[in-house]
């Protein structure tokens, strides 16, 4: 890391970094940062030196003895206060026996208020979905990487869970105790039904698809009335535009749970789109007419290669590629 130059005066640099610079100085500084690459590179060195100096000064002067004394004092008298949850918790130790379950997923437990209910956090692993049975008889299947937070056994007038990722819900009917899936700004309220929710962080939408029963999608902010979804209905919420669309539910959207993908006279354009969605492999045809061929068939979910083989044999195609992308050609 060489000194790139000395066009910046050290007194001025220190003033800017210490927050003592005048508005005029700051303005000039910002302009130079934006317009002059050499200035910016040199500035980064000053900034780096400043931050390391900060860290060093802190570490040198920190009162470890005092902190230790204070801590031992506190430890003798306190009850644990987790400011994040604002409830009293005591972390229970995890036995190594849990390691066997880890390939599928894990659960973490926290005691709440000395009562018998526990706050549970289920996290599905990378390889397999995770099945969870809840105290009311409902079943939740978490897709890979998904997580679910719930108090068990259920307490109070509602049955609440909080979801991140994708999960399939089979909710036991109990009209006196609505089942609610929290998704941040939205809630999915159900009475007794089977439905899928996909709420993955970092994606643009969340989706709800209903197989059986009735689901109300409630927006917690604003005054919209709930969107009621019945069997065969689905909804997609776009985070950026904050719009909620009602859509038709396709069984292929839950292929990961049903274990099946079916095509009923679907053009390969749609078939490829579905396969891409489900497996993450981009499917491309070098000839647009390929995409118009129509496919009928039902396949097992975990058999991607078989599906491609059947498609190719049916329409006299060949393919090449890898797990990221596959290109399909006509055989001539």
């Amino acid at each position: 890391m060489m000194n790139t130059g000395n066009m910046i005066d050290e007194i001025r640099a220190a003033r800017i970094l210490a927050g003592e610079a005048s508005d005029a100085e700051l303005k000039e500084h910002k302009q130079l940062l934006e317009s002059d690459l050499g200035y910016r590179e040199e500035w980064n060195e000053w900034l780096n030196a400043w931050q390391l100096g900060d860290d060093a000064v802190l570490q040198m002067n920190i009162d470890t003895d005092g902190a230790l004394a204070e801590l031992l004092e506190k430890a003798k008298t306190r009850t644990v206060d987790v400011s994040v949850r604002k409830i009293r918790v005591r972390v229970m130790r995890l036995a190594a026996a849990v390691a066997a379950v880890l390939t599928i997923g894990i659960g973490m437990r926290y005691l709440i208020d000395n009562s018998k209910s526990e706050y549970l956090n289920y996290i599905a692993g990378d390889r397999l979905p995770m099945e969870i049975s809840l105290s009311d008889g409902s079943k939740v299947t978490l897709n890979r990487g998904a997580s679910l937070e719930v108090v068990q056994p259920f307490r109070g007038k509602e049955r609440r869970v909080s979801l991140s990722g994708e999960a399939w819900f089979e909710v036991a009917p109990d009209s006196k105790h609505p089942f609610i899936v929290g998704l941040g700004e939205f809630e999915v309220r159900v009475v007794g039904t089977q439905f899928n929710v996909r709420n993955v962080e970092g994606t643009e939408t969340f989706n709800v698809e209903v197989l059986e029963g009735i689901v109300d999608l409630v927006r917690l902010t604003g005054t919209d009335s709930p969107l009621r979804l019945k069997a065969g209905d689905g909804a997609v919420f776009y985070h950026r535009t904050k719009t909620l669309d009602r859509v038709r539910f396709s069984m292929n959207n839950i292929a990961w749970k049903s274990g099946r993908i079916s095509f009923d006279d679907s053009p390969l354009l749609d078939v490829f789109a579905t396969l891409e969605r489900v497996y993450g492999t981009r499917l491309v045809a070098n000839d647009a007419s390929i995409l118009q061929e129509r496919l009928v068939g039902t396949f097992a979910y975990d058999d991607f290669d078989h599906i491609i083989d059947v498609v190719c044999r049916t329409f006299n195609l060949r393919y090449e590629g890898d797990s990221a992308m596959i290109m399909v050609y006509r055989n001539n």
Binding site: M1, D9, E10, A13, G53, V57, Q59, A96, A97
Partner: protein
């Protein structure tokens, strides 16, 4: 054993079975504290930009370690401490984002701060220790005690201009010595 579950969670599994001799008693705890406290506060401060909040976070992590001391020993204590501090900082930042402005919230996600390089920081400490006494005093009063230039000037009975010169000198010295500090690190 540290297991990575997904990008948000890692977990440390502790060894199961009978108590081994690496149980944390007061002496061991004190040693752990003295060894790691300062650098963990530096790390937490990189997230939170607030020394007091950083101290609170690290203290609460150590209190947890103390309260769990009779339970199964943690195999990788340093890893556990770092993860706990990191997780708490991230929670705090998320809470702040919910209730306050984004600027106050702190650094997160793509800008997650790096674990401080202790050796490098110690080298910088040596560099600072080489500063002339008044210069060093001024730098520490501004960076550690958080005093403004005017307050430092009044406190030490010197002019603000002199304070500015001292601050500039300290910064320049650190910057110039840094490449050699890193070079000597690579050699050692």
């Amino acid at each position: 054993m540290v297991i990575s579950l997904n990008s948000n969670y890692t977990m440390t599994l502790s060894a199961c079975g009978t108590k081994s001799d690496s149980v944390i008693n007061e002496t061991v705890f004190e040693m752990l504290f003295r060894t790691h406290y300062a650098s963990l506060v530096v790390y937490a401060r990189r997230f939170l930009n607030d020394t007091d909040a950083a101290r609170d976070v690290v203290q609460s992590v150590f209190i947890r370690v103390w309260e769990r001391r009779d339970e199964t020993p943690i195999v990788n204590i340093k890893g556990y401490l770092v993860q706990s501090v990191r997780n708490r900082c991230i929670s705090l930042i998320k809470d702040r984002k919910r209730t306050g402005t984004i600027e106050e919230a702190g650094r997160l996600k793509d800008e997650e701060p790096e674990l401080p390089d202790n050796e490098l920081i110690e080298k910088v400490q040596e560099v600072i220790a080489m500063l002339p006494p008044q210069c060093q005093r001024v730098f520490v009063m501004n960076r550690f005690d958080g005093m403004k230039y005017k307050e430092i000037a009044d406190n030490l009975g010197i002019s603000v201009k002199t304070v500015e010169v001292h601050m500039g000198k300290a910064l320049k010295f650190i910057r110039e010595k840094l490449p050699t500090a890193i070079y000597s690190l690579q050699r050692s």
